[in-house]
């Protein structure tokens, strides 16, 4: 693990009308870290994740990812930033229903201009690593929840992102599938993938994260380091 800062938030504030979702959040995530953001519903976890992923813009403060100040990027550069620097895993997978698993994974590279052949080869490698290569031609509707999330993870890893963001990755899964996804995330972090997980699942946090950031009412109220439990 190196000490390079991947994510640096400085006084980030987000307001929706009169509602303050984030209120001066300052946070750093270093390369190779696995950080879990926890807190009750409505505390601003997902908003924080959206800000870091460049899916939304803060009302105040600065966000730097790998040195890029997201506030200075226009929509196109922001899209390129997401494409090359960020991998996203969603609670409800967000796969395209009309593409088979392989093409869902390959999509991320194809948008970056990679030709179909190389993109599909890389996607197949990832599906193989995640243990679902045999389901590559299956459509999302025919996959189990765990399989869908693996496909989503593979897609997130397709462009070798500097930062993997996961929003309640086990929230829509049964316990067995949730376990598998936790193992997967842990493995990824152990091979050096920087990870930021938003969850309210204490088990996921303690299993996968080395540090927990707790939010309440849009503020960081506590940070703690964890010893991962097997």
């Amino acid at each position: 693990m190196t000490n390079d800062v991947v994510v640096r938030l400085d006084g980030v504030r987000k307001e929706y009308g009169d509602t303050v979702a984030l209120d001066g959040v300052t946070l750093e995530v270093r390369t190779g870290e696995a950080v879990a953001v926890m807190g009750p519903s409505g505390c601003g976890k997902s908003t924080l994740l959206n800000m870091i992923a460049g899916l939304d813009r803060p009302t105040g403060g600065t966000i730097r990812i790998h040195g890029d100040d997201l506030g200075r990027l226009d929509e196109t550069r922001l899209a390129l930033f997401r494409r090359h620097k960020i991998g996203m895993i969603f609670q409800f997978f967000n796969l395209l229903d009309d593409l088979p698993a392989l093409d869902n994974v390959a999509l991320a590279a194809q948008l970056a201009g990679t030709r179909t052949g190389p993109a599909r080869r890389r996607a197949l490698e990832l599906l193989d690593e995640l243990g679902i290569a045999d389901r590559r031609n299956a459509y999302p509707a025919t996959l189990s929840g765990g399989e869908r999330q693996r496909v989503a993870v593979a897609r997130a890893l397709m462009n070798r992102p500097a930062l993997l963001l996961a929003d309640e990755p086990t929230g829509a899964l049964d316990s067995r599938a949730g376990e598998q996804v936790m193992d997967l995330l842990l493995d990824l972090n152990q091979i050096g993938q920087t990870l930021l997980i938003v969850t309210h699942d204490e088990r996921l946090a303690t299993r996968c994260a080395s540090r927990v950031v707790e939010l309440a009412d849009g503020r960081v109220v506590r940070e703690r380091s964890l010893e991962r439990t097997p």
Binding site: S46, T47, N50, A53, L55, D56, E75, T76, A79, L80, R82, R83, H84, M88, F90, F92, N94, L95, L96, D97, D98, L99, P100, D103, A106, L107, A108, Q110, L111, A112, G113, R115, T116, Y139, A141, R155, A156, N159
Partner: protein
């Protein structure tokens, strides 16, 4: 306020874009339908309608006042449903102090312009009531043109003041004066106007009824009679050309409007299934849910319908004015009440029925099913296509976009049909404009750039729209040959032709044939391009004949015509048929030597001859015209190389209608993309989250409609070409004109390539705004809400 109304009102407020789209589409469609129906209505038997509105006479009969009295005539009622008269009639020479036709005119004494028969349209000034007052017969001018100045005229050498202009569809007179004035003019005939009971559909039927009504009169009482069918034939030929064109645009407009409204409204209801599920979950009964949806789509539909009807009314008025008022049929043409009724009742009904079908489907769904059905297209559609597209070497946003239409095949089909009809209209309009342009070019080339008319000292010719001459007319002192010599000698003259029309009896023909004798460079002026059959003449014993005359006289290529004048004969063989021919009465063309052979002693005055001049390439027409008048002020010359009114009118019609229908088709695409984007918000959010740039989003959405546009274009072009192939000859046939094949051969690869792009252009135009909206979708919000 009921729960249904509250829910519907809230839905309208929340779905502003959808409400706007429904309102706009219904507005445009209603306007299109009003235009289409008004055009169809105007083009269906326009003469009969105008004739009925004018209470036109089935027969105009002239009686000898020395043989029969007015009282006797007025008492004739056998088979008559209405009559007007007796009116005194006399033929007098009309001289004007301004522009307009001169010469012998029929003057009738009438007390007023109304009455049970031949109701006149007194469109300017007042009726003639006193001595020295006259009303002239003239069709009302189109709005865009000026009305004639009130001028003084002389009738039979006596001064008269023109106090008004009226129009008689039947042409019962050229001018009207008061009955007292007529008595002073010593009428030579008594005019009676009859409308008959029973069958009057043919000239023979009218003549039979006239025979019945005049049966009891003294022998020799009836001098002449004209059935209305004579006027109808002429008017129908003028209007006939418009009918197939207007009917084509009208039918296309109706289909486009119905398809688009159906697609938009049913799409809106399908897109609202989720909302339907929520309403059901809240306790709305299935009937209430259907009522909410019908109300929701009906509100913008009714507003759009009313505004669209008014818009259509104002849009069609100039079209009708341009197309029909010029022909003097304005009285019976317009947006009639039945059109308002059909549109204002029919359009909301169509919307309601269209919405009702999917709403009934929603009625049957359970709340849970409705909620899940509303989120996205049914899984499994178009998967194979999407997979194959994924393997193509196309940019991924393009291949993703190309697959989108297959997810909603029904909606895509409707959109293809909308684009198809738009492209069909554009193709037809393009073909029509090209054909008319080519006809105009041929006519221009043939008619020459300049017409020349020497004055006889009584009247002068004025170009259409030109200023009246300031000097009184003086007769030219030059002979026919000297005029031709003058025209040849002026700078830039390349070709000069002299044309002289003369009715000549023909053996075997009951009526004399108009023979157009030509000399000079006539054969080289371009008339050969007007040939619709056969070939050009090779000698003085051959003739080519205008198509109208060929039909009227039952002639065909190869026939021989024997002309006879003063005991001399000339036999001409018909070797070709012309689209029309030189200006003036249509007839058969003959070399000037035929005239010399038939009438060697005849002196042809220059004012009887019509001269045509064509200049060398780059010659200055205005300078030549000025040079003619400078050389001899009693010779009028004017530029005739202007595009004809008919071409301008029809190209105007077709351009406006093609633009209107293309816009409606683009709105159909717009609606489809709005619905697709709404249904795929989650997918779009996800794609953006993994790095799809705004430009790639726009590309994907445009690609999805480009395919629809390409298919619509590919199918619409042949349909438009077919319409062009069949409708234009039908229009020509209605106008009793044959057209050369060359004016139909207007399809070339570059034109077709541009038209192929028209479908894509319509689709991209409709898709651009919602595509840019999709590119701006807030990702976090979309993914959070989904």
């Amino acid at each position: 306020m009921t729960a249904v109304w509250r829910a519907a009102r809230a839905a309208v407020r929340r779905r502003k874009l959808q409400t706007f789209v429904i309102g706009l589409v219904v507005l445009m469609s209603t306007a299109t339908i009003v235009v289409a129906l008004a055009l169809l209505d105007a083009s269906s038997a326009p003469f009969d309608r105008a004739f009925a509105a004018h209470r036109g006479p089935h027969a105009i009969a002239l009686f000898d006042p020395a043989v029969v009295t007015g009282e006797q005539l007025a008492a004739q009622k056998t088979g008559v449903s209405a009559s007007a008269g007796p009116f005194g009639q006399v033929t007098l020479d009309l001289d004007r102090n301004g522009p307009g036709p001169e010469g012998p005119v029929t003057v009738v004494g009438r007390a007023d312009p109304g009455g049970p028969v031949d109701k006149l349209d007194l469109w300017r000034g007042r009726w003639a009531t006193g001595p020295g007052e006259v009303v002239l017969n003239q069709p009302p001018p189109a709005e865009t043109r000026g009305v004639p100045r009130t001028v003084d005229v002389t009738l039979g050498g006596k001064p008269f003041t023109v106090v008004g202009y009226a129009f008689s569809l039947s042409g019962s007179a050229d001018a009207w004066v008061s009955p007292d004035q007529m008595a002073a003019l010593h009428p030579t005939a008594t005019q009676m106007l009859f409308r008959f009971k029973g069958d009057t559909s043919t000239g023979a039927a009218v003549e039979a009824r006239l025979a019945a009504v005049t049966a009891g009169l003294p022998a020799g009482a009836l001098l002449a009679a004209q059935p209305y069918t004579v006027v109808k034939k002429q008017a129908s030929a003028d209007i006939g050309a418009y009918i197939p064109l207007l009917a084509t645009f009208g039918v296309l407009g109706l289909i486009v409007a119905v398809v688009i409204v159906g697609n938009v409204v049913s799409g809106a209801v399908v897109a609202g299934f989720r909302h339907i599920g929520v309403l059901k979950a809240l306790g709305f009964t299935p009937r209430q849910v259907v009522a909410v949806y019908l109300t929701m789509v009906s509100v913008p539909a009714v507003v759009g319908c009313v505004v669209g009807a008014v818009t259509g009314f104002f849009a069609v008025r100039p079209l009708l004015a341009e197309g029909f008022d010029d022909l003097g049929l304005g009285g019976g043409i317009g947006v009639r009440p039945w059109i308002w009724a059909v549109v204002l009742v029919g359009m909301p009904t169509l919307v309601a029925v269209t919405a009702f079908v999917p709403a009934v489907r929603a009625h049957r769904l359970s709340a849970a099913e409705a909620i899940s059905a509303g989120s996205a297209p049914r899984a499994g559609r178009g998967l194979r296509v999407q997979r194959r597209l994924g393997g193509l070497r196309l940019p991924r946003p393009v291949s993703l976009g190309l697959g989108l239409p297959f997810a909603r095949p029904g909606r895509s089909l409707f959109t293809v049909i909308a684009v198809l009809l738009g492209v069909t209209t554009v193709t037809f309009a393009t073909g029509l404009a090209a054909t008319l342009d080519r006809m105009s070019t041929i006519r221009d080339a043939a008619n020459g750039q300049i017409e020349v008319h020497p004055s006889d000292g009584k009247s002068r010719m004025v170009a259409e729209g030109g200023k009246p001459p300031t000097a009184p007319p003086t007769a030219t002192t030059k002979t026919d040959a000297q005029v031709e010599e003058l025209l040849r000698g002026l700078p830039d003259a390349a070709r000069v032709a002299a044309i002289y029309g003369l009715p000549v009896p023909a053996v075997g023909q009951t009526q004399p044939l108009t023979v157009v004798f030509v000399r000079g460079d006539f054969a080289a002026m371009g008339y050969q391009r007007e040939l619709t059959a056969g070939r050009w003449t090779r000698g003085a014993d051959e003739t080519v004949v205008a198509s109208d005359v060929m039909r009227e006289r039952g002639l065909k290529v190869g026939d021989r015509i024997t002309l006879e004048l003063d005991g001399r004969r000339a036999v001409l063989t018909v070797v070709g048929e012309l689209m029309d021919g030189p200006q003036g009465p249509e007839g058969i063309l003959a070399d000037w030597s035929v005239l010399t052979a038939l009438a060697p002693d005849r002196v042809v005055h220059p004012w009887e001859v019509f001269y045509q001049v064509q200049l060398r390439t780059g010659g200055d027409v205005a300078a030549y015209v000025a040079a003619v008048q400078a050389a001899d002020p009693s010779i009028d010359a004017f530029d005739t190389s202007q595009v004809s009114d008919f071409v301008v009118t029809v190209v105007g019609f077709s351009s406006v209608l093609a633009l209107l229908l293309s816009t409606v088709a683009a709105l159909g695409v717009f609606n489809t993309v709005v619905l697709n984007v709404r249904e795929r918000r989650r997918d779009l959010g996800m794609l953006k989250s993994i790095g799809m740039t705004p430009r790639q989003v726009v590309t994907m959405v445009l690609a999805s409609m480009a395919l629809v546009g390409a298919i619509g274009g590919a199918l619409g072009i042949p349909l438009g070409m077919l319409a062009h192939r069949y409708v234009i000859p039908a229009a020509a046939e209605s106008a009793r004109v044959a057209i050369p094949q060359s004016v139909m051969d207007i399809w070339y690869a570059p034109t077709l390539a541009v038209l192929a792009l028209a479908g894509v252009a319509i689709a991209l135009l409709g898709a651009l705004v919602p595509a840019r909206g999709a590119a701006r979708l807030p990702i976090a919000e979309v993914l959070h809400n989904e």
